[in-house]
Subunit: 114 residues, 2 copies
């Protein structure tokens, strides 16, 4: 039931950058080499490689080198773990019956502010 706090730290930190989220998004479509992944970005390769390093350190992606090309692929475990964190917060919220907002919401299944 532990959320592996340090892991969530590194996963959310990894996702807090648009370049890295775009890489995850691309890898969700399938594996790709470093240079393929880097192509859309106006950034020096070593800079980009750092992003790959952050993603790999967070466990969000994995990679293996064959010949001179390193192929990256998404690892869904950590992504799923992070998603689960949100579900837990929703569960906590759902457990609240001390405010009108929530009462109204549970009555009609609607969404509302705050």
């Amino acid at each position: 039931m532990d959320n592996n706090i340090a892991a969530l730290d590194s996963v959310f930190h990894a996702l807090a950058d648009p370049t890295r989220r775009a890489v995850v998004q691309q890898l969700a479509r399938g594996p790709a080499s470093v240079s393929e992944l880097a192509r859309p970005f106006d950034m020096a390769l070593p800079s980009f490689l750092k992003h790959i390093g952050v993603l790999e350190a967070s466990g969000l992606i994995g990679s293996e080198k064959s010949g001179r090309v390193r192929t990256c692929r998404l690892k869904r475990r950590r992504l799923a773990a992070a998603e689960r964190w949100f579900e837990e917060q929703r569960a906590l919220w759902a457990g609240r019956y001390d405010n009108l907002d929530n009462l109204l919401e549970t009555l009609n299944g609607g969404e509302n502010e705050s």
Copy 2:
């Protein structure tokens, strides 16, 4: 259909810290004052207030001051937006029919590695 990139940046960055996630978690149970929220943490108040500031800047929480006490409450919008990002990635992944892992998964609905 835009994910509001900058907003996701700040939301994920806000969530990349255990103190801030704990605050969100507490606020999911209901509103609380700054000092109530700060109590569990071994941290100087000004340091803690910075975390509150980061959370508020990200839009994850809101606050209002009445008398000398500032009351914070969770705002679910951004939390929901972040959660949606994960769903989008899963949708992309689900759209893949180019690998055996995924084929097997769609056949039997099971979970597997990477």
